[in-house]
Point group: C2
Chain length 570, copies 2
């Protein structure tokens, strides 16, 4: 395993100058988030992850989760590390106070997940999914369900899962066929098969709480007929003790390109007609509850790009310092270019995801405009964050040269692990569709135009960024007036442009702050100088590239449909 250092100074800097965490802590609801506590979390989570999760990254890849006759066994060391996480309370940051949580800002939960995932992306999916289940239950669950399940999920004593996908229903969730029939005692009989269930079975904890989308009798077709159910692996017996197996079976796990330590399960519910579930939220309210889970999950997936980006960048810098070809290869201009690109992209993606997380907290506080902003930033954070992660991991392989292709180095594992991120929690294409659909036309462009204005106000003097803002504004107007297929045809390049514009804005601000701090002699000079360079690199190198997407964003759909399917295949 190569060394890495948790990026605590950088995290704290972005919390201060992008999220403005002190402003958040000024609100009553987050008054616990004092500067000292924030420091303790940033330092503590990084140290914990490095000590407990990082050493398991390679064994997790090589051995992976192992399925045998319905059980899934994690590699040696995972149970102990997970136990340490629970014992140290690292799962409790965001959870509600009355369920044993600390009720701290979502942004601080983001920091913890980032650190865990930089150490071990595959393992951390377990924490990510549990966080989503907590959120869904806390918002939509009945008091009884909350009392029974939330404390164990918040502590991490039990883990949570999200059960959407079925073989015929992936991006098209409305096509799902799993069923729920009322028993009469408040419980429902669940039947169906779900695929791609992350940590759907494992031996880290005694119980697993599945949140399952299913159709109730006579439900309308499509997404309107879907309800959400809580289906525990072990259900309560007459005394309320969780001892009864609940007729949920892990039929198999997938053989995947990466994240081998994350068991991707096929779960079969109700094979013996005895799988009990309980409604979360109202009947037919499944999609709304699912989106609660999913929106934060999308930010957390965007965060995975940063996790891998940080790790791959540090490892590449370390390798390039040590590897001599004539001179240390870090002295070669093109190697410098790759390293600076990796570092700059990682920081840009971090500022975008943190900014979105900060808006989640502001929306929670009811700050005006925050909900619209987080809705807008979510598809950007998910898609741009994960695309950046893939590019950075690939550059990491490249910097290692021939050694990058050898599995022992670890660079290849990052490249494999991160490739799932542009796919799950809504493919990046779906994020782009969400951006030009619900997020753009849903409010007639108001949220995006507000963002554009804000960027413009801060971008004075940045020639490339101003050009990009103008191009985004032009594309926005065009997309708002054209028809749906034209919008979708340009959605992906448009998403890129808006993402880079947003990152450029946040990077420009960070660069200014860093320069001022350097001048005034406050802060870590090496870090601040690096920040002035990574932000300048982003503005002068990455921003112009995004301008090259403008033609595609507004080209319309006609060329895409000029060929019949048969001609396309010719």
């Amino acid at each position: 395993m190569l060394a890495y250092t948790p990026p605590t100074i950088e995290q704290r800097f972005v919390l201060d100058h992008v999220v403005r965490i002190d402003e958040l802590a000024g609100h009553n609801a987050f008054s616990d988030a004092t500067a000292d506590l924030v420091d303790a979390i940033v330092e503590g989570a990084g140290a914990f992850a490095l000590a407990e999760y990082a050493p398991l990254n390679r064994i997790g890849d090589m051995v992976g989760a192992v399925w045998n006759d319905g059980t899934v066994t994690m590699p040696a060391g995972f149970r102990e590390a997970y136990r340490a996480l629970v014992d140290n309370g690292w799962g409790t940051i965001v959870g509600p106070k009355d369920a044993g949580g600390q009720g701290l800002p979502f942004t601080l939960g983001t920091i913890v997940l980032e650190d865990l995932g930089t150490a071990n992306m595959a393992f951390t999916l377990c924490n990510m999914l549990t966080a989503g289940a907590v959120e869904a239950l806390a918002v939509h669950g009945s008091e009884e369900l909350q009392t029974t399940y939330l404390p164990k999920l918040v502590s991490g004593e039990w883990t949570g899962t999200m059960n959407l996908t079925e073989p015929q229903a992936g991006s098209d969730v409305g096509a799902l066929r799993s069923t729920a029939k009322p028993v009469g005692d408040g419980s429902w009989l669940i039947a169906g098969t779900k695929i791609f269930i992350t940590f759907g079975e494992h031996d880290l904890t005694e119980n697993i709480v599945h949140l399952v989308l299913a159709r109730t009798p006579d439900a309308p077709p499509g997404t309107k007929g879907i309800s959400l159910f809580l289906v525990p692996k072990l259900r309560p017996d007459a005394q309320g003790a969780f001892t009864e197996p609940n007729d949920v079976r892990c039929v198999s796990i997938e053989h995947k390109l990466g994240i081998h330590a994350s068991p991707t399960c096929v779960l079969s519910f109700g094979d013996n007609g005895d799988c009990r579930g309980w409604l979360v939220g109202p009947e037919l309210g499944g999609m709304r509850a699912m989106f609660t889970m999913m929106n934060n999950a999308r930010l957390n997936v965007g965060l995975q790009g940063i996790q891998i980006g940080e790790r791959a960048t540090q490892e590449a810098i370390s390798y390039a310092r040590d590897r001599i070809q004539g001179q240390p290869i870090i002295e070669h201009p093109d190697v410098r270019r790759m390293l600076l690109r990796m570092k700059s992209l990682t920081q840009a993606a971090r500022s975008l995801v943190y900014a979105a997380a900060g808006e989640v907290d502001r929306a929670h506080l009811g700050v005006e405009g925050a909900k619209a902003r987080v809705d807008l930033l979510t598809p950007l954070a998910k898609a741009y964050g994960t695309d950046a992660g893939c590019e950075i991991a690939s550059l990491g392989v490249q910097v290692h040269g021939g050694m990058g292709f050898i599995e022992e180095t670890g660079a290849a594992q990052h490249y494999r692990d991160i490739r799932i991120a542009p796919i799950y929690e809504g493919t990046n294409g779906i994020q782009a569709a969400d951006l030009v659909g619900r997020k753009l036309t849903g409010d007639g462009g108001a949220a995006l135009k507000a963002l554009i204005d804000e960027v413009r106000a801060e971008a004075a003097g940045e020639v490339h960024l101003m050009a990009l803002v103008d191009a985004v504004a032009v594309a926005t107007d065009w997309l708002l007036t054209t028809e749906v297929n034209d919008r979708l045809a340009g959605s992906y390049p448009f998403l890129d442009m808006v993402s880079v514009m947003t990152c450029g804005w946040l990077m420009a601000r960070q660069g200014r702050v860093a320069a001022e701090m350097l001048k005034s002699g406050s802060g870590d000079p090496a870090f601040l100088k690096a920040k002035t360079v990574t932000t300048r690199y982003y503005l002068d190198y990455l921003v112009p590239e995004a301008l090259g997407k403008a033609a595609a964003a507004t080209a319309g759909s006609s060329l895409l449909y000029e060929l019949t399917i048969e001609e396309l295949a010719a």
Copy 2:
């Protein structure tokens, strides 16, 4: 295994309109390359590869080459398929006639390698390396070596390898330490360890012919002190029969991200002081001989991007037609965008690599300017071809959605396999350095300016392409006058721009020809219509993106060196 169809119509079209194969066949030396023979090779190689190499692609990945105590065993079926290749004479296309080859254009050898590699990239490396050994021996070997070894290599009865890299000497070949000492009988005693030796050991053939770079006694340091030796696995006994083991041992093979069916060997020469080699070319002439091997090898590696690109594109189109999410996903605009991008990029890269191959043949014929053109196009073909291959394979994973991350689908294998191509045979960064160094400043920009003029003359009416030509011209002038680190700092984005300009030129020409043929009613209408769309897509979507690199190409190196190594790591 998913179905694919060898792209024979496309290959023939590019041969006709980019390579102008009929013009090549007009020369005496290539008069055997009649239209009928070209058809037979294009059809035959595709059919052979599909029947014999393709079925082994997945087992090659899953089982891979297996090392045991110095031997390497290929997966079941590989020996038989390789035997069929030899029996059918598919290795003999390019080889010299007096050694049993057909002496046909290099371009036709390119077609054969493309087909084999589309079927099975890892396996085809064996053929690729043998072709390189044939070339080196045919150009630089003594008559005796040629008589003894060439016929067996040309037929494929024996295979060849290329031994450059040592643990401390990768891109910096001059740092190698292997030694050669004269025995007195014309042979040399070879000693040293080589790493990353593709097909350095296997059980496909009885003998393996290693071409090994080593230092002779009192040789000067660096690349000037290097000589090339032929070191067979089995050497001739007193009767000239190849029965004697030659003290070469495969110490281990690498555990790699992809191309598992290609054993990447650590070879130890002369552990027992009894490894014999014979000089290829003059003493201290190793670098020149190596470049003979390597230049064609670089084109062949660029070709691997096309191999994977073609396969991944066809599989993605096939999946997108069958996969229903509401409707077949191929109906979604963003899926169309991805498929069209994949197809367009594959065709663009193909036209670039074929164009370079055609110039290899013209250089062989002594056509004026051809040598300079192939020298210029080689780094473009290698780097752009392989980068395109990686992007296409990644898009292929994306089109498959969640299934793309599951190994059974095959999309992930392409993504893993192709990732080596930007690294080996000189990393793409080294290609970029070669472009702005030897290839640009070596002749004061003459070859590139000749290309620019040629593109400009054919690009009238193509707005984006003309803008790119202008940008390349400006960058060229700047690079020619600035200092070396500035040149290297901009080398990679510059390489991208020049590559896309060249591809845009060739795509524009193909689009015009296709439109004319459609109008006149000749050729396959579905193919031709698709060609008008893929070329248009390239010109309107891909070319503008390359313009976005102009800022980085001419930004100079100062920002890259503003940080000390410590600050970069901060």
